[in-house]
Symmetry: D3
Subunit: 235 residues, 6 copies
């Protein structure tokens, strides 16, 4: 967020193509991250509040001051079905910016989940509600409504640049962002990767080794790998 | 713990009013914390060892040396039904101070749970037993029984002052302490807050926005909030 | 790992006695750790990706460069039924070294689980597969296959020295290593400890106090423990 | 860094206006950060390797794989006098990416310093050389030269978006980025702020209070601030 | 800070005896901490912004909301010569609450230094001014002036209870609090300890061992210490 | 430390060759670490208490219980001129195990410095004394003398295996261990590396690029590196 973005709400930004985003939902975070050349993964400090959720949607971005959740209320109005709210404080905060009331409001609009590099509360209620949240921590500490931030401007969340309309995929492995323009290509690459992994899985299940399936032995030998028989004093 | 408190056990301290403490049990940590003006929340590093527990009881406080759990055995005798044990080491420790045997002893006395700013072990057994623990970490590292601490003196646990007899509320969102004398007022304030939230929840569910329910639009405009239509190059 | 170990695979190292290792599986990590005089516990930052697993097996050790999982593929071939893979990067890394494909390969060989002082991914799939992993974090960040490490040389994992063939016990409380030669003695000591704890548990359940069961009162008094009745101004 | 940026070097990007950047050098990080409405501050985990340096220059950005410093060598060629190198790994890394040899090369080109969200080594030599570095940690751990990253594409460094050519100001208080287009305005705002602070400083030195200088008393009273005389039992 | 303390300033609280506090200034933090039976040490995350300062004074306590330094301005008025300002946020914050302007104001009143479990900025200027600060981090991130806290009520700072008027000793080893009433006794105990250490130092300098000076050999043998000659295969 | 090592002191272990160790002292930690193929570096959390020291000596190893420094007194007797004391607690501890009195005793025996994965205190006095310490933190928190550990058995310190008699090199960049048997080879390799770096430094100083000096351009092109001219909308 640059100085000129403070206090700005960008309305109706372009979103990644809905059909392609839905395709991404078939794949996990790990596959999508690999499919876009190991880019876009948010820091692993973001963890889901409950296991088993997997979502893919389009980002509505929110930049919030530390300990102040006012802009999340502003952002709700900018959300539509299929969106994922992505929230980043301008400096480290472990306050509980988000709870069951805001989730109720987002569910009413068809929002799929929340990604926040700060705290979240009411986790028992959010779990009952089936509204998934990926957060830095669980924290009941309350926030104020005093200062402006921004909605739908580019933000940095957990170490990654997220722009409004980018695709967000999140599951038990974490959260990955796919730039709006790359979504169709990444979806194709993920599908190709998944096909290849299915074949490898079958071979591994039958006892074949990665050394052979992927033909690694020669390159390992060239790098100098040596096999030595164990002896008692080698331990 | 001040120097003169080392080696002291205070017996039978006054406890917060039982009826009011029971009322607190109806509300979550987040609500109680808000009801007492955002005070009393222990640091979010304390996490429950399993999900779904919610307790409210009166604190028996224990100050322990690093890596030494002797005083917890001393504290057991000071506990009665409805109490919550609150344990803080005098310096950071990740040892496993508490396990299934001590829990068995506390269950026999009607103690509701444990809050400890250090490690806990036997988490599988504690889960089976249904004895909830909020701890800094899970750690099997053993402790010794060599040095004295104190029981039922004021302690600092995870950043908050806890005095014996204060009310402790703990759930999936964390742990909050309510000073003994404030318990009835906080219970009333929490009930009022819950009523208000129920009304808000209904309105949110039907699609109303916080911006309108809480009348935020004017104040946001006064602070300078601007709405800008998205353009391609704004991304 | 010393300089001369880089690029080395030690084949068929001696393993701890199978019968004794199986006995260890009856006890939890906490009991085994106590039974060997509070040694061998890996740092509590290693956490299971799902609750409820308990394993005991023999270590196949892997030293890996940061962000490079090539040697894990090399290690798979060195594993046999009853082994546990133990992986440590040479410097701190939060990359996701391990996922469902490698697990499929290990399951096919009868490997019991993985201990890794780095990241792991595909946690939903690993949970479905019933392959337990104790890791530093969950991270989808991908790794490369560029540099050599070592297999079955002594490594330091989460602060403990692990040699190939040592026994590894892991459960919800963490991970403990038992040196190969100590396994039978530790198994006996753990059994003796468990028997004693069973008797203590029965007494605690009936309301007896640790102070009396373990005869602590006299030593506490000698150390200077004082009991003081609470007064209003003592709070 | 998005997928399409891996392996890209953007040559000769526009830089922030040199005269304005030089003006920024007169002010500290704290003042510049305030002057752009509290935006742009990199996370405080970045610390200078020695005290007393203050620089302001234009960013050459580098995205590097974990544990791989190859792209820094590529970036050197893109640097010119007055630049500051800004390096971010794609996932958390504590390797020592940068040392005295690379610094020698940068000094030869007139580069002012380095900002890196990873490790740096040779700190004694860098101090002697007078080449300032702000890093996440000091670490001698070596890096490899195996994988591509990018140079002069937008990156996220310590939680902030940095684009090539943006102004970077760094001193003992940390590091702040000023977007290229905002530099002249921020320089003016910083100058105005500094003037105002000079007047305040004079008044504070003579014993006047902020309460009076900034006229806070009335607003504090409106918020409900109460003054209570101390009594013995109030402690 | 309990709910009823929010918005309260306690004026003119009793302070620890000036002569005794001055005596404490002769001793380091380590000695004072030992002299009061290893109690009162603030968490080691508080570090001095420059080396070589040692102060002892009386606490003026400030509880501040996260990211809001308004109450520090309120607190300045409550300070007098010989005081030390002790500031704790109600939840974790890494904002830069304090800088050179506030220090100028405190210096004008004879305040000796600042202890803050949050961020501090302008460290170059504070060093030039000779105003020592012990802080959680250095951070230029700005704060707001929107919400009330309290001044001169009991607070928890870096894990220790600090009451207004308690003695604070701080040096390169950290910060220790001595409860008001204990100051004379702790000063005497520290003096006695220092005398004993001086005698020990002389003996150590001449080559005597702690094993003999403190007569540890017998107790070590009783605990079971064994000496074993090194053999090649013992390594 | 395995169970059978608790309570053991190994006397007079073999030490790395004195002449070779002295040679290592010429090189920094970074060079030695590279010279032994990037192995042996202790975790970067170990930092020197003051800048500018560089030592190389032979390890006397100490395994200590958490918060108990008794074994350090036992270890002093096992030290001789040219040794470096290396101390690791069996579980994480931030207590202040070591201060000026123990340093006085070690200086009297010609010990070069201390490496400890825990806290150290009296840093002002240690600095005056010129006795360098690399520690996890500075902490005045006192320790007890109650439980046994071991001296001169293999230990894990900050993630690396250290055996008695191994060479330890420490400077502003951290700490590296060189296995006893590898010392002469590592010293030669370090000398060769330093010579090569000297030649590179000269070329860098004159403006040559690493891209050319190390002939990287072709391999970068083969990996797919592309140069793109900046355009306004590329930012």
């Amino acid at each position: 967020m640059s100085a000129s973005d403070v206090g700005v709400v960008v309305t109706d930004p372009p979103r990644a193509d809905e059909a392609s985003v839905k395709e991404l939902a078939r794949f996990g975070v790990a596959t999508v991250h690999e499919a876009q050349r190991r880019t876009g993964l948010l820091a692993p400090r973001l963890r889901p509040i409950y296991s088993g959720a997997r979502i893919a949607g389009t980002a509505v971005t929110v930049s919030v001051p530390p300990g102040d959740n006012w802009m999340i209320h502003v952002a709700v109005e900018q959300c539509r079905a299929g969106d994922v709210l992505v929230v980043a404080p301008t400096t480290r905060s472990e306050a509980g910016y988000f709870g069951e009331l805001l989730a109720t409001s987002l569910v009413a609009r068809g929002v799929l989940g929340l990604v926040i590099d700060a705290g979240c509360r009411d986790v028992a209620e959010l779990t009952d509600l089936g509204f998934p949240v990926w957060s830095r921590c669980v924290s009941a500490f309350g926030t104020v409504k005093e200062s402006l931030g921004s909605v739908n401007t580019p933000i940095t969340c957990a170490g990654q640049l997220v722009r409004p309309g980018d695709a967000i995929v999140a599951d038990d492995d974490g959260v990955v962002v796919v730039p709006l323009a790359d979504v169709p290509d990444v979806a194709s690459a993920a599908a190709a990767r998944e096909d290849k992994e299915a074949r490898t899985r079958t071979r591994y299940r039958s006892g074949e080794l990665g050394l052979d399936v992927a033909g690694m032995r020669e390159r390992l030998r060239d790098k100098g790998l040596r096999y030595i028989e164990a002896t008692e004093d080698k331990r």
